[in-house]
Symmetry: C2
Subunit: 351 residues, 2 copies
Amino acid sequence: SNSFNSKYHPHRRYNPLLDEWILVSPQRAKRPWQGQQEKPLTSVQNQYDPKCYLCPGNSRVNGVQNPQYEGVYVFDNDFGALLRVEVTTDKTEDVLDELLKIKPERGINRVICFSHDHSLTLPEMSVEAITKVVSIWKEEYQSLGELDYINHVQIFENKGAIMGCSNPHPHGQIWAQSSIPSEVARTQQNLKNYYYKHGTTLLSDYLQKEIGINERIILENNSFVALVPFWATWPYETMIISKRQVNSILAFTKEDQVLLAQMLKDLATKYDNIFSISFPYSAGIHQAPTDLESHEEWHFHMHFYPPLLRSGSVKKFMVGYEMLAEAQRDITPEQSAEILKKSSTIHYKNR
Amino acid sequence: SNSFNSKYHPHRRYNPLLDEWILVSPQRAKRPWQGQQEKPLTSVQNQYDPKCYLCPGNSRVNGVQNPQYEGVYVFDNDFGALLRVEVTTDKTEDVLDELLKIKPERGINRVICFSHDHSLTLPEMSVEAITKVVSIWKEEYQSLGELDYINHVQIFENKGAIMGCSNPHPHGQIWAQSSIPSEVARTQQNLKNYYYKHGTTLLSDYLQKEIGINERIILENNSFVALVPFWATWPYETMIISKRQVNSILAFTKEDQVLLAQMLKDLATKYDNIFSISFPYSAGIHQAPTDLESHEEWHFHMHFYPPLLRSGSVKKFMVGYEMLAEAQRDITPEQSAEILKKSSTIHYKNR
Ligand SMILES: O=P(O)(O)O[C@H]1O[C@H](CO)[C@@H](O)[C@H](O)[C@H]1O
Ligand SMILES: O=P(O)(O)O[C@H]1O[C@H](CO)[C@@H](O)[C@H](O)[C@H]1O
């Protein structure tokens, strides 16, 4: 039949956070793949690696020695993309050439070791240990955000070599800086437009709809929901949204922090179980900038962007058409949600 | 010194085509790399491969047999992301839920074999043979664009397995569709704003400035300039811009087409010579949509997005911070331009 059915027909979906469309091609999932295969993602690590620059007691490239830490350890990145030092310029924004705009950027790059144990990954850690990571995110967001020259704090993790992670030791990063980064600024603009129009946050209203439909929801507890967004771009993209409308991690109680840790563990475990491998992704928190505005439009959420498509060795390439024209996906968000719902929260290594 | 110098200090640059900033970290180029290495990109191909579904005379997955073509051969993709068939829906845009917008998309996916010779890549082809590719781009843009349901024609090439290309046979693609894709719509909005403000195209004015500064220009002939954009994101990103303000490939004379072919050959050769490998990239043309508007704001240009950073086996990962916050680069556009200028236009295989 030629009457539109989103399970079978090419279509576009709208991402209201970024105000852009993506292309969905359900009929394309069957195409054969003769392209690049990734290396197996199943290497086993020791609990301590004498060559790892993140393990307790080891020396880093610049000679600094890590303490004999237990649990979480945070320090400034030795090769940060940003620098703490203030750089002066006499060119204010308005005198810059319209087509050659450039300005110095000040900031801080932090590394967070999630555990002293080199062999672990987030889904293999205890809820208690993950809760400690969440509480450090909160502390860092607060203390960095309080610095007068820091207006945005980006907390994220690159998991797996395929996501540019150069060390399997479980760790994440924080990049804090003076400006609001481009993707965040775009998101904020759309959140503001929605808030001024409706008086509610975009994500509160969206969450209500998703709970009503109950097709793309993966996990739910008293404080959080994990779902595949209606407009998901990456094959197994998900989002964790707080049920209460809070604009940052600062509003989370002790109990919220435990519930977020529990959800992180369960979601990451479901990911690992899809292909029985350590499932790679980039994940990060979107929340209010620390620029001292009130930001009623913001609503705490966390994005998960995993690169894999068909198996542990075939990823989705966001290239050519995607770079020049528009993001494109093959399996539908609903199919992915189905797979993620069925995937167990007991880790395959423990079965 | 703490007085701002773009060679040494972290800074942001503005991309006026996308109305967004990128982060540049010149001081970071020295960081050691212990992460993922790509496979060597130096495999040698035969002129004919009996297993290749693009070689003349071979059968494709769906049983169709390719003709014994010489030179360029164009056909509909057997596993297209879009379909020619019309799909009906009674939901018009304005009745769609504000947060769950979805609509069918109609279109055509074409594959263009650049040559019958399986062993070639664009830089190894003759200017005459590349001119034939350019003339087919023009023909396809015209004939697809004339269809009433096609409002945008995206011409592009994914080169190399690392860019998701599943077959080394030299080929590109065309995705033609009803809607204006997201990245193109964004670019168009910024081009329009500039045109209404100044009465000139953004890229004419930008090109004038770059010719005056002469620091980022890589190649120039009577009709085209190749340069590293001031706001380049990928380490070796470049752009070819037509000197005359024309809004599409339709305006190109025979001579223009030869000069574009010459520039494509020279630019791709310079790329291959940087690391003495077949240099991967995604490249594509941005030009006026075929929606019958006049589009004085558009100015023909072609983007090259190559993934490599330090060598043939270490790429730039656009992950974590880049996906969530903002594109980031290490070496400056000026350093890349220097390397590309010095790189020879005589292919390393012919020396
Ligand atoms: O069309 P191909 O070569 O099979 O596929 C390649 O290019 C497409 C268009 O950029 C992408 O959507 C795919 O992810 C990529 O693997
Ligand atoms: O900081 P790392 O782990 O050395 O580097 C990784 O994450 C960064 C932040 O997403 C990216 O800029 C790098 O391209 C990536 O390799």
